[in-house]
Symmetry: C2
Subunit: 147 residues, 2 copies
DNA sequence: AACCAGATTATAATTATTATCGTTTTATAA
DNA sequence: TTATAAAACGATAATAATTATAATCTGGTT
């Protein structure tokens, strides 16, 4: 899907959701689409600041969350801002709840048996590989229904 | 591998590395081994604080890093402390450099063609799944050699 | 027992993110 | 257009996680 189509898609989604499509929203999305580096809010902010001097960092944070909610942008690290450790070194799969940040082990023979080949190293050194699921855990699902 | 064996392994590794095996190091490791919740440093700290009132939070942070370096503990989220976003929603795989936190796309037909079945939901709602590699990127590898 | 590298503690500093609040835009309809 | 209400924006303050610092203290070795 090309650039302009994706902007149109954003426009359409905003209309459906009944939220305004602001200049800032578009520009932030554009930077993300044009980027290959999986940027942080800070990076996006700095790229736009020269052209839009009044842009606020908080606006970048907010809009990235909105775009995620619309489903047209992906947050790579649902656990950002909380270091988490595991003493179990055996190969296994995690499920991360995007709401409460709980991490659960996934018990599945099928998934455990999947062989993931190492990618071409290209000068990199591969130290580990994991499969990770994200979603909403049982507890948070139940709380949602009570509303 | 059982509990005591793993403590012995820690003892052995510390000797090899020439670093002291402190009371705190052992206790922090024990908590992690006994835990199923993939705890944060803060959680581990709180669990130990009552039995070891002088324990410092910084010590927990430090030791978790040491244990990771020794390879007997795994940090789940190499990107903790920086939110990162991706505008590319197609199914693809990431490589995260543990040193500079760069995120690169992995281009591999083989890996892209892997089918990962959804796990049993168990009341959960699965929203996404990813394969992630961690390691050291080309740039950081080169810098290392210059030392 | 004495030494020393490294660890620990307490605390200060830093950094990323979120909240607040007055002002400004956007979308819609007269 | 212009009026209007809802929502977003921008500036900055507040919060929370993590890291750095400096003064002791310890584990392991001689």
């Amino acid at each position: 899907m090309d650039f302009l189509t994706r902007i149109e898609e954003l426009r359409e989604l905003c209309r459906e959701e009944g939220i305004p499509l602001t200049q800032q929203r578009i520009e932030i999305y554009k930077v993300l689409l044009a980027s290959r580096e999986h940027p942080s809010p800070e990076i996006i902010y700095r790229k736009l600041k020269s052209d839009f001097p009044t842009l606020s960092l908080a606006t970048v944070y907010n809009n990235l969350e909105v775009l995620s909610r619309l489903g047209i942008v992906r947050k790579l690290n649902p656990l950002s801002d909380h270091a988490r450790y595991d003493g179990d070194l055996s190969s296994h799969t995690h499920f991360v709840c995007v709401k409460c940040k709980a991490v659960e082990d996934i018990e599945s023979e099928k998934i455990d048996s999947i062989q993931i080949p190492d990618p071409p190293e290209n000068g990199r050194k591969i130290l580990g590989k994991t499969i990770q699921f994200v979603g909403i855990c049982e507890k948070c699902q139940n709380e949602k229904q009570e509303e």
